[in-house]
Subunit: 323 residues, 4 copies
């Protein structure tokens, strides 16, 4: 193999730049040429491809976002789109792909491989941490720290006013950010998509807290909880307790940005490094993951089908500790 | 004077704890007894009053919120409420008051003084920075830095996706936070309550940016802008440009919390220190402010009536610099 | 068991307060009484012991340091000291101990148990991450993030001046902080106690970088490296390259403080929670650790004797990625 | 005037990039061509000059350091050096200069102007805040906040161990950073170059604190204090109180780096904007400063000769508040 290409796809996540740097530097070290593709599969279709050198990735590790930009591509879901994409790769002499992204990214890679047999290695980059075959996905560590810093600030004002806050964090299908930020901020309740929320228990808890004059309350809710987000939960609380001073806040996109934590940078470096080793070793259709502190390989098939399970035992602990 | 009392009132602001510390320590240094009143005027009415010592304020300067808690009190707006409040102060032998808060706090103090002639000194504590007689109010510096850190993170993801964001910051009547965070983050547009927004100009600017492929855009809007908040502005943009990928986000209460900046801590210290000196010197009904780096005194009357003006010349500069 | 006591010992580490909170709240939930011992074994000897309630640990999880304070006790190393300590525990009716600290803490506990058979459970709290039987010790995650934020700032000024910096991080016997902060900051060289530094290779690397005009260089050195700390390394570099603009900086105690990361808070919560469960289940002389994401128990014997090994494969990767 | 050039010189300071952005964008808005000179006067001599466009300064405002790099130039202090520099400017058709830096930068500009009559406008960029004719210099606000965050962390560990710390901050001739960070962190003593330190008073204060069991102490010392830095002060304390657990720490270069605060970004923007207006209006040999919130012009002569005075009244306040 002489030339590989690299892209980021799906939602951006802190640490993607560190992974890009690792892929580029490792490839060059092994005398592989590296091309960057901008805006994911869409840029592949449009031929937005450029050669990368060592200095292309200088001083990017500490930056949020992705210098390769990212996008979702409807066109790549069509055979015509993928054909164009393949032609662009051929034109540029690309013999292998490294893909940083989530579920959707690897699904696309699977279809593409069936059609064009171009080897591809994946790196899990999504703040949601919900990909099977890895204990951890790039960006998750930073995103939770960002959420925690924000909720700490909200607690300051909640304490000052003896107020209740419902804080919505990211996570459409996964409660990882909610569970971890909720525990870390001492949230009185944590609502996640993986569990049906028992609202009667929440009401009982609020009643009991009111009796003992515990007025400050933080409820962390994942955006994908079946009750709805922060606004819906606030409305339900006000229905039951119209006299309570409760506010809703949505942390939103701040969770995607910011300088990555050391952990995201180190694991991104390891994954990027290993991805190049894997593609040089002739592997394909595998995602580089982290299991029990070790770097492992998981077939895309498995990573796509399964969902990393949430440790729901921690929910019970959270309730006891916030009491 | 032998005994004074101290309260925080209105919305909480970072730096309030530093001001509390300064008042308590300066008073004790001058052999004045200091009492803390919890939850502002409401706690005054309810007699939620306690003696404070040097160690009561140890290690609080770096904390957000206010250890005295704050609240808004409807009861204090009634003559009966104020009578109860006065009786509580008499019962505790309080001869002077130091009040940390905003407009409403000082208005209440004025009415109270007319009725009961109890001397009071104010310290401007509000993140909105909109009080006349001072260049700066406690909490403003921290709040803008918090907003800027958040918008920087949002820009990371905006750049990754070539996306437009409308970010709502606090400021119901005042555009200080919006103007300063907007300039500091290179916002393409800044919408403030002090100026009628020319939406046609915004649309022209967006069209022009689209033509030259400048797709990343940050629009900062104060919550009190006459167009409405972030959601309303986003809707208007989508009406004009349905194809644009635009998101709205409300920074919300994170702007109130967090460890205060050095500037908020230092000015809070100076104001608290001076407030005690002023009350000992027999002054009353004045607010301690900061003008041209010097600590000054402004009658409550003036602080209440006028509004600190926004430097609108900076709006033009912001537009040129973001181009 | 009806009553347990809790202490922190050795160097302080971010996350200790979260562990204290978890122990207290879990114990109270199970109707165990909890006593806090201030200043570690020294406070035990002196009887600096007090009852803790739910509110004793309110709002401490986000704080650095330890509300129980910590100290090293020479007296506890003597039979007389331990006798006094035991008498104090008896006087207070303490039937079990939970100890948050490092190697030395657990060694002390082992000797104490042999003499007095008082059950004890340990929680690994040290920023050095060098205890066997756990993938991770409390405070490590925060300490590395603190080091990384500092080195990122140093890189800003290094880039501005085309300057070389030798940055010393904590780690007398262990290179965990150095290795991880070095990778995360793209350090050109990382010097750790676990490996004999080949200074000739460093000189070659510097020569080669000079030739290709790569003047900005960050060398991260653990305080326990056999070459000495930052000042010694800087001197050696200047000996070989007198014309190079190189600065030495010691990050120092900032690495111990600060609000803990989400990871330190969550793991501290899990460990504190589990420590109470273990002591109630009749276990003793075990440390609660984290292995492969799961909470496990390791006998003190093992935790003391062995040293968590550093992943030296990452050193080679670091060199390739910084090239 | 058709073409100007821009450089940063002296020590780097957060906010320099925001000023660069403002100069470039404002100049282009007025159809002036802008050239960047790398590495200050040294780069001017070497002809390290390049044309800048709007996108040259995209996304730099939030970065520490200076994209133009900075250096000190001995050669520029010689007539031959300045002649070469002038020839380079002539070759590139430069008709005016904008200089971001400190004292030394403006002194150089004065000599240069006398010899070659090339108009120059200055922007004060130095974290030391010690230039006359401006209340504030770029980078100061960020540097103090960085110092405060670091000292807060040190206080965490000081409290945990009941320990004294001597913390050295930057400031060879000026105590601005020491005074402001000291007040903001509640330092028990603050040592600045502007005042002869009365060490006997410090010893008395330590003795008195010891008697009342106040063991945690933070002493902030500017590097230019006449007692010497942190190590010297620690040694003097240990001489007087050998039993005290006291540590010295030097914050060092972290104070120069990091993302600038909103205040540094906004003032840098205003100064850069005004510098271009001034040079277009035919002004020369003036520094753009900030006085009483307004942008003003001060002749280099005055800015060089005088030194911004430290408000020593705040020293007394600091002592009272830390008691």
């Amino acid at each position: 193999m002489k030339r590989i290409a690299l892209l980021t796809s799906g939602g951006d996540a802190p640490g993607m730049n560190a992974a890009i740097r690792a892929v580029v530097r490792t490839a060059l070290y092994h005398n592989l040429e590296v091309y960057g593709i901008r805006r994911g599969y869409q840029g592949m279709i449009e031929g937005d491809i450029f050669r990368m050198e060592t200095t292309s990735v200088s001083n990017i590790m500490q930056r949020g976002g992705t210098i390769l930009k990212t996008a979702r591509s409807k066109e790549f879901m069509t055979p015509e789109g993928r054909k164009k994409a393949y032609q662009q790769l051929q034109k540029n002499g690309i013999e292998g792909l490294i893909l940083i992204g989530g579920d959707g990214t690897f699904k696309g890679a699977n279809v593409f491989f069936k059609e064009y047999s171009l080897p591809a290695i994946g790196i899990p980059g999504t703040i949601d941490n919900d990909i099977a075959g890895t204990d951890y996905t790039l960006g998750f560590d930073t995103a939770v720290n960002t959420a925690v810093e924000a909720i700490d600030k909200i607690r300051d004002t909640a304490e000052a006013h003896d107020r209740m806050f419902v804080v919505e964090v990211m996570g459409r299908d996964a409660g990882y950010i909610a569970l971890n930020s909720g525990i870390a901020c001492g949230a009185e309740d944590i609502l996640v998509p993986e569990e049906i929320t028992n609202f009667i228990n929440i009401m009982k808890r609020i009643s009991s807290d009111k009796r003992r004059k515990k007025l400050v309350n933080i409820i962390v809710v994942a955006e994908g909880d079946e009750l709805g987000g922060a606004a819906a939960v606030k409305a339900k609380i006000l229905e039951a307790f119209p006299e309570i001073d409760v506010r809703a806040t949505i942390l939103g996109h701040i969770q995607r940005g910011g300088s990555p934590s050391y952990f995201d940078r180190v694991q991104a470096s390891r994954m990027g490094y290993e991805a190049v080793n894997a593609i040089m070793a002739g592997e394909t259709q595998v995602m580089i993951g982290l299991k029990n502190q070790e770097i492992i390989h998981t077939p895309f098939e498995k990573a796509i089908k399964e969902h990393a399970p949430l440790n729901l035992k921690m929910m019970e602990m959270a309730r006891i500790l916030a009491s």
